[in-house]
């Protein structure tokens, strides 16, 4: 297998092998990211109207009957949980992934990427307000997205390199 060396010099020579606690944190972060994504997808699958793409994908498979059965017994949820939370969960999943890639460091690059993620979410929401994209603009969506972006930032630490 061809191996590539990490350009340690370009990073100021501060790259150390990934320590065990660091690895555990990465695994935990990726698990939360995956869970957020799956939870958001489940809300789409079991609570949103059946015309959504995720339901349509599953409807064409053998598990469609099981999904329909589960949809009929799912307990009612507050509307914000059905319509706003998935946006936040997707954003959370996205942010955690980005921060994991950047080592949960508060570096300029990581902050720039977090701003980009927020810009993408904001663009999608404001596009609905301007009727560029179908859907309904909602301030609560934006608020939840902002929380989803800020929450993982609390677990970052100062960058060890410039």
């Amino acid at each position: 297998m061809k191996r590539y060396a990490v350009d340690n010099e370009a990073l100021g020579g501060n790259i150390n092998p990934v320590s065990s606690p660091e690895k555990k944190r990465q695994i935990l972060a990726l698990s939360i990211s995956l869970l957020s994504f799956l939870l958001a997808s489940s809300i789409y699958l079991f609570y949103r109207e059946t015309s959504n793409i995720l339901y349509q994908v599953f409807a064409s498979t053998d598990v469609s009957n099981a999904i329909d059965s589960l949809r009929s017994i799912t307990p009612p949820l507050p509307p914000w949980l059905i319509y706003s939370l998935p946006d936040g969960l997707w954003m959370l999943s996205f942010c955690i992934l980005i921060l994991t890639i950047w080592g949960f460091q508060r570096s300029r690059e990581a902050i720039a990427w977090i701003i980009i993620t927020l810009a993408i979410g904001g663009f999608l929401e404001f596009s609905q307000a301007l009727n560029i994209l179908p859907g309904h603009f909602d301030w609560s969506d934006l608020a939840i997205m902002l929380i989803a972006v800020l929450l993982p930032l609390c677990f970052t630490h100062k960058s060890s390199y410039r």
Binding site: N52, I53, P79, T117, L124
Partner: protein, 131 residues
């Protein structure tokens, strides 16, 4: 041995994830609501109201009306309150009226139709009125 700057690798992966996120969000947005028409926005006191909605379905390719297409109409108050859904069977003549009863005020009522991926579903706002 070829050297790869780890930051370049991180940027590349970040671009990939961002694109995937954007595509996923766009796909779910555009396919989730196939077509929509906003209702009148005047405030009324909550009571049983009814709307009559005319729906015409045309073939995308030929432009010919489809006489027996089934259209599901989902009525929602703003985006939160699901008011119910009705099935509109467009039979000759193509423009068929549908009566739907709402149990809330009429502010921001939206009508969602499905499927519309293979049909053009035209809902004229002028047909949306309080009965």
């Amino acid at each position: 041995m070829k050297k790869i700057n780890i930051n370049t690798l991180r940027h590349t992966v970040s671009v990939g994830i961002s694109l995937a996120f954007l595509i996923m969000a766009l796909a779910s947005t555009t396919l989730f609501i196939e077509s929509q028409a906003e209702g009148p926005c005047e405030q009324i006191t909550p009571k049983t109201v009814s709307y009559t909605i005319s729906v015409s379905v045309k073939d995308d390719l030929t432009g010919n009306p489809i006489p027996n297409a089934t259209v599901n109409l989902h009525l929602l108050h703003k985006r939160y309150t699901y008011l119910g859904s009705s099935i509109c069977q467009t039979s000759p003549p193509v423009n068929t009226s549908l009566q739907a009863v709402l149990y809330t005020d009429a502010s921001g009522v939206a009508v969602y139709t499905s499927p519309a991926l293979t049909y053009n579903v035209d809902i004229d706002r002028s047909y949306l009125y309080r009965g």
